[in-house]
């Protein structure tokens, strides 16, 4: 039983922004709507639900992602198929582009309620249900307007291409055209060129091999000659070995002696004149004299002088004499050391005195302020006594003035009392004429007022005198008191500082004594030090002199050894001179031997390089390469032949399938036309294959023409027929293709077929054809909305 479409549910698929549901009953269903309303999207959704692609995405005209509505992230399609006798199958497929990656999910629910997931599994069930894969589906069941348009109105080439697609011939042709063996041919040609190169190289190597053999014979001969020459030279060299060995021994000895003499010369630092024995003797005598002077200065025992006197200097005993003088010099140094030690004791004592002096000076410095105070007090006291007299005299004057002051003050008091009384009496007498004196009882009246006044004037004068005297007394007493206090203070200072002053005076005396002693010791020590230092200088000089004498004596011995060695060298050179000719001949032969050996080595190296096996090996390698390459070429040629054979076979299949399909198609078209259009105006329709050779060597290109037989003749399809007749023919062709394909689909989908012809005719023809051909469902899209009112008995899906 054939499968039928029942229900389609789309959401966010292509032009549909929201969910839409479409029902598909049996019979002809027309999807009506203006451009962009989603007519083609319905057919596209059915293709996608079944196979995961639609025509455009399968042909790579669009990306699969474009199936999702631009405003959505996920598109969903669900299609319900009915298989009569089995039940409803529901297939759902969605595409999700969220997360930047396109993901597909697919499921299929069987009438038994089983759910199958996965695109491969679902596609297998769909192919089983419809008996079609996607390629077959889009060229027999779901026909796009492009193909139909090309078939109906295209030129010969376009129509042929459309028919090739619809019949499946185009895939076979594309397969045939892809079987191009040119690349293998090119590779074979390249390998052939390589083979030629290798063969050429092989030939050249063979020639070279022959030249190598000739050269090798020449070299073998030369090698033999050189070996003979070397043998001769080596025989002569053997005879000369004994005298040459002697010559070389002598040379070695001469060289050794020369080296020995040179080493001795390097050790001699003095000039030859300095090494004269008589001059050395003079220097020994000088040392002897100097040593005697030193002994005298050091006051040594008489034994040393005696020993020195016994020394007799001669050229024979110079070593012994110098050794004896060196020993005496050592004794002199020891004596000097003892004397110097005693001298150092004196120096130490002097240093002790200097230390004591420094201590005294330090004490004196510490006492200086006290002594200054004492001396200043003493000087001040002397000045005061000189100026004002002694303390006793000043004390007597102080007492006397003190007494005068008391007397004057007493008299002044009396005068002031009298003055006050008389003043009072005079004032009373003036007020009361007469008054009695309270002291003497005498009567005083105004007649004695003048007298009283005169007395009062005199008393006032006296009071002034006494007051003046008292002032002078007090002033003098003050001066004396100050002086006496100064004098007493100074005397207290003198008494309190007197012990320190006495100590100071003692220290001064001790200091002066020490300074005197030190001065004397310093003079003595300085003299001795000068003397000892001069002795030390002489001894040091004698040390150096004796050292120098010893070196000279040693170098003198070395110079004697050099003379002896030079004499030996002269004798050896004389002996060697006699052997000189043998050595010269030996050297010459050695040089010849070297040259012959070098030449032999060179010949042997060349012989080694010319080893035939190398060339033979290279020839073998070349042979193997040639053989391998020939084998490869043979294989590739075989491949080329096989591929050509395959290509020709596919061509045969292409021609055969095309022929058979066209024959079957012609039969089917005419059956359909006779059934639904029994008019004499179209007696038969015939598709004819026309082959044209466009390129030399290439297979012919195939074209189709559609011929129509009318009662009056045979015409090309587009030359005679009306639009209506053309529609009948084209729809017949399409339905013939549909029915010719073996499948189990109970529906055909036509996307705006033949838009330029009368839709009423088209639909009426399709309705009749579907019924007669047992096609349960025909789905057609169109923009002609008026059809819905004009044609009855069809299902309408209206889109806006």
């Amino acid at each position: 039983m054939k499968a039928k479409l029942r229900r389609l549910e789309v959401n966010c698929f292509r032009g549909f922004r929201s969910q839409r549901i479409f029902e598909f009953p049996d019979g002809v269903t027309v999807v009506v709507g203006p451009v962009g309303s989603g007519k083609s999207s319905i057919l596209s959704a059915i293709q996608f639900a079944l196979y995961g692609f639609d025509f455009n995405t399968a042909m790579n005209l669009y990306q699969r992602e474009s199936l999702i509505n631009v405003e959505c992230e996920r598109a969903e399609v669900q299609l319900t198929l009915e298989v009569p006798g089995d039940g409803l199958y529901q297939v759902g497929r969605s595409l999700d582009r969220s997360g930047g990656r396109l993901r597909e999910t697919v499921f299929l629910k069987t009438p038994q309620g089983d759910v199958v997931n996965g695109s491969v599994e679902v596609e297998a069930i769909i192919e089983e249900l419809l008996g079609l894969d996607f390629q077959e589906f889009i060229r027999s069941v779901s026909l796009g307007y492009v193909l139909v348009h090309m078939l109906a109105y295209g030129r010969q080439a376009s129509r042929s291409r459309a028919l090739d697609i619809l019949l499946g011939i185009r895939s076979i042709r594309a397969f045939y055209e892809s079987l191009n063996p040119r690349r293998i041919k090119k590779e074979v040609d390249e390998l052939r060129r390589n083979l030629e190169d290798l063969r050429r190289e092989y030939s050249e190597t063979e020639e070279n091999y022959s030249r190598v053999k000739t050269r090798k014979r020449e070299l073998e001969s030369k090698k033999s000659e050189l070996q003979k020459r070397l043998s001769d030279i080596q025989g002569q060299l053997k005879q000369l070995e004994e005298p040459v060995r002697n010559y070389l021994d002598l040379s070695r000895k001469i060289e050794d002696n020369k080296n020995y003499a040179n080493r001795l010369r390097e050790k001699i630092k003095h000039s030859p004149s300095e090494l004269d024995p008589y001059r050395i003797m003079e220097e020994v005598e000088y040392v002897k004299r100097e040593l005697r002077d030193v002994f005298e200065k050091l006051v040594v025992s008489q034994d040393y002088f005696n020993t020195l006197e016994k020394v007799q200097v001669s050229s024979e005993n110079l070593h012994q004499t110098v050794a004896l003088l060196e020993k005496l010099l050592d004794d002199a140094w020891r004596r000097y050391d003892r004397v110097w030690e005693a001298f150092q004791s004196s120096v130490n004592e002097l240093e002790q005195r200097r230390g004591e002096l420094r201590g005294l000076e330090k004490l004196l410095v510490e006492l200086e302020p006290i002594i200054s105070e004492y001396e200043e007090a003493e000087e001040r006291l002397q000045e005061l006594e000189a100026k004002y007299g002694t303390q006793e005299k000043l004390e007597k004057e102080f007492k006397k003035i003190e007494e005068e002051l008391r007397e004057n003050m007493k008299k002044l008091q009396q005068l002031k009392s009298i003055q006050q009384l008389k003043q009072s009496l005079a004032e009373s007498a003036l007020r009361r004429t007469s008054v009695t004196c309270p002291v003497c009882g005498s009567q005083i009246d105004s007649s004695i007022i003048d007298e009283l006044r005169s007395e009062l004037s005199q008393i006032a004068k006296q009071v002034l005198d006494y007051e003046k005297k008292i002032q002078e007394n007090e002033k003098r007493l003050k001066e004396l008191r100050a002086l006496l206090e100064d004098i007493r203070g100074l005397k207290v200072t003198l008494v309190s500082r007197e012990p320190d002053y006495d100590r100071y005076r003692d220290f001064i005396q001790r200091k002066e004594d020490l300074e005197e002693e030190i001065r004397e010791d310093e003079l003595v020590i300085k003299g001795k030090e000068h003397e000892y230092r001069s002795i030390s200088a002489v001894l040091t000089s004698l040390d150096e002199k004796i050292g120098d004498l010893k070196r000279k004596l040693n170098e003198y011995s070395l110079s004697l050894e050099i003379l002896k060695t030079e004499k030996e060298i002269a004798e050896l050179e004389e002996q060697r001179k006699e052997l000189e000719p043998y050595f010269t001949q030996y050297t010459k032969l050695k040089e010849e031997e070297k040259q012959a050996t070098d030449a032999l080595t060179k010949v042997e190296a060349e012989l080694s390089a010319l080893e035939e096996s190398y060339v033979e090996q290279h020839l073998e390698e070349l042979s193997r390469e040639i053989s391998g390459l020939e084998s490869k070429i043979s294989n590739l040629e075989n491949l080329y032949v096989k591929l050509e054979k395959v290509r020709n076979t596919v061509r045969q299949i292409l021609d055969k399938q095309r022929r058979e399909k066209i024959e079957a198609l012609n039969r089917r078209i005419n059956e359909i036309i006779r059934k639904v259009y029994p008019s004499e105006s179209i007696r038969s329709v015939e598709l004819e294959i026309i082959e044209k050779y466009t390129r030399k060597g290439a297979p012919p290109a195939s074209y189709y023409d559609i011929y129509v037989n009318t009662g009056s003749g045979r015409y090309k399809f587009n030359e005679l027929l009306s639009d209506g007749q053309k529609t009948i023919v084209i729809l017949s062709v399409l339905l013939a293709i549909y029915s010719q394909t073996r499948h189990k689909a109970g529906f055909i989908m036509l996307d705006e077929p033949l838009p330029n012809v009368d839709d009423e005719i088209k639909l009426a023809f399709l309705t009749t054809l579907a019924e007669s051909e047992d096609i349960p469902q025909v789905i057609v899209t169109t923009q002609a909305e008026e059809l819905t009112t004009k044609v009855s008995g069809i299902n309408i899906i209206r889109l806006r």
Binding site: E136, F175, S178, L643
Partner: protein, 67 residues
């Protein structure tokens, strides 16, 4: 998910034709079938690649054995 470049029915009919026409040459048949399979899966590009592989191998015998 990939698209087939030839319908299954058509592929099967060509396969049968090849077996019939090249039955006496197993090497050529093996090559033809492998090339057909590549065409179905990858189209013309797949066929070119397969030919390149055969060329690389350079030995039709071993390729036939492998197939």
């Amino acid at each position: 998910m990939s698209v087939r470049h030839m319908g299954k029915g058509l592929e099967e009919s060509i396969r049968e034709e090849l077996k019939e026409l090249l039955g006496d040459d197993q090497e050529a048949l093996s090559i033809a079938l492998s090339l057909l399979e590549r065409y179905v899966q990858e189209g013309s590009r797949g066929v070119r690649r397969r030919i390149a592989e055969l060329l690389e191998a350079g030995n039709i015998e071993s390729e036939a054995t492998e197939a």
